[in-house]
Symmetry: C3
Subunit: 245 residues, 3 copies
């Protein structure tokens, strides 16, 4: 049997018979853990260590979650994912396959990472963001060093495929980073930036829905999949918090 006796598993949870669950893991109700997962590993687990996986969460096959992290309710973790120590994932988050969360990171509710996203330590990704495939958040301004200048991404931001964000940079509320960009400065709220070298391209309302004159952003009026009904209120509240002008 691959499940430690020092682990708690909630009602109706399904753990694949090839998955490995180490000590001090607390799994909520209705959780699914797929084949060949390694959950709660640490070199020497002591009584201080704890990994929490909350109710209704799905962890797909071949994924690894280390000790001392917390995965929120209703979250979906892809295949071949790696989540290292001290990662705090809130509710309703999605982490795409092959994503590599290096630890010491907070990912807030309703944020979605697509496949193969790399999150360096000390990143903060706030709620309702989208990070598309192969996005990288870095943290070391003079590599190698012990300096860790994490990236901050404010709510409702969109980081398109294969963009890299350099250490310590902040992406403002509701902003849009184009594909394959190398972000080397802070990006203001509701602003488009793209390219390598990186350039500010103007206000997000410049992007239109194809073949129309309608604004594509904010996306909350046109894309509702899996979001809460009160998303408009959430949007207004978070916008007010971030934009004080």
């Amino acid at each position: 049997m691959n499940i430690s006796k020092r682990t708690k598993i909630g009602k109706n949870s399904i753990i694949a018979d090839t998955a490995k669950i180490f000590d001090n893991v607390v799994i909520g109700d209705n959780v699914f853990i797929g084949d060949f997962c390694s959950i709660g590993f640490k070199n020497k687990i002591t009584s201080k260590d704890k990994l929490i996986i909350k109710k209704n969460t799905i962890i797909n096959s071949h994924s690894i979650i280390h000790q001392n992290s917390s995965i929120g309710e209703n979250s979906i973790i892809g295949h071949h994912v790696l989540i290292r120590e001290k990662t705090l994932i809130q509710n309703n988050v999605q982490i795409g396959s092959y994503s590599d969360i290096e630890g010491n990171t907070k990912i807030e509710s309703y944020t979605k990472l697509h496949s193969n996203v790399h999150i360096g330590q000390h990143s903060l990704i706030m709620s309702y963001c989208w990070l598309f495939p192969y996005v990288i958040l870095t943290n070391d301004p003079i590599p190698p060093s012990d300096i860790r200048a994490g990236v901050i991404i404010e709510p409702f931001s969109i980081i398109c495929t294969r963009s890299t964000i350099l250490p310590g940079k902040k992406i403002g509320f509701g902003s849009f980073v184009g594909a394959n960009s190398l972000v080397n400065c802070d990006l203001k709220n509701e602003t488009i930036g793209s390219g390598n070298p990186f350039k500010i391209r103007g206000d997000v309302n410049l992007i239109k829905i194809p073949n129309t004159k309608k604004n594509a952003y904010p996306w909350i009026d046109r894309f509702k999949k899996d979001y809460p009904k009160n998303i408009k209120n959430e949007y207004s509240l978070l916008r007010k918090k971030c934009i004080k002008s």
Copy 2:
């Protein structure tokens, strides 16, 4: 035992003892499936679901193939691969390690994907193409949205390392996309494009074999490994189909 009884396995096929084969998988003769593979998974498999893996195909360790796909004869799937539902792979195809095929995709015969290629849904990759490491095919023009504008890659095209193709773009027959490009427009037949910003650089016959004046493309005269003997006829037929001028 990790192999479902509701699965058919052909003659001389080898399934590693740690691999997991779910219901409704049909495996041909002389197939090899490596350790820690997950083959035919789906949340709830019904009688309508089916995964076909044809004869002489090799699936290396730690790979995942979901239901309702088909993998052709003589194909090679690398390590740590993920192939999602409704992927149609024809014969003699290679899928490199860590590649992530998101589903709803067709990959035609003799096409080769190197390591860590990401294929968004609704892509069509025609025969005899090469996609090199870390190529990404995208599909969403205003992310996040429900629009899926898949990429089309015509036969004998070469997409070099780390290129990104934006949603709905078409790469013409026998064309060449340089490394690290961000393809934001259609590329005509037998044309070179590269860079970020992307630029058309001219006809593929501008690329020479190093230290010679010989054309490097089409490559069929100088590189024959694992291709059929009648590849020249195939090339002429497919060229005629694609180039109507």
Copy 3:
């Protein structure tokens, strides 16, 4: 039991019960091999094949190491790594998670590869280098071909996140390649290069420690983690060898 009888395991070594160890593997003392690893695989292992894993080395879960390679002492291999045949890794090397070492490659002592680094065949990475996440070393100048022009990286070089080095290019001693670069020429000793298109930016002493006038490179005066005490002597010796002017 998943461990071949034709394999030697040293004292105090720990092999996870779900790991698979094939024939002709020689494992030193105090080695750790994590869950779901595949160690020493080859299609048909003959008496000529051999895989050596030296003492005090850690191989984390879900990693794959093929036959006819050698992993040095005190090395750390991440999760989900793939190391193919004829890879020679010296002592005190780190290979980050998801890294893909394609084989026929030498990685010298004290070099560190971060996550998701792709090393094409016939690469030579000398000692005390750093390759950051998603770096790619290529090898084929006219893909697809049988030409293999490997990349050479001299000691104490820094290759930042997501840089691509084109076939046959050499990075000189103590040089610095900025993030997201496409290196299309040789880079001299102690030189900065960056961008796509790639440009030489000057001497490495132009990079300062943030908010100071102190040089950031060479890094050996300011970053000592896990390096030998005599690193300064090593640096001087290797510098003399590489820089003959």
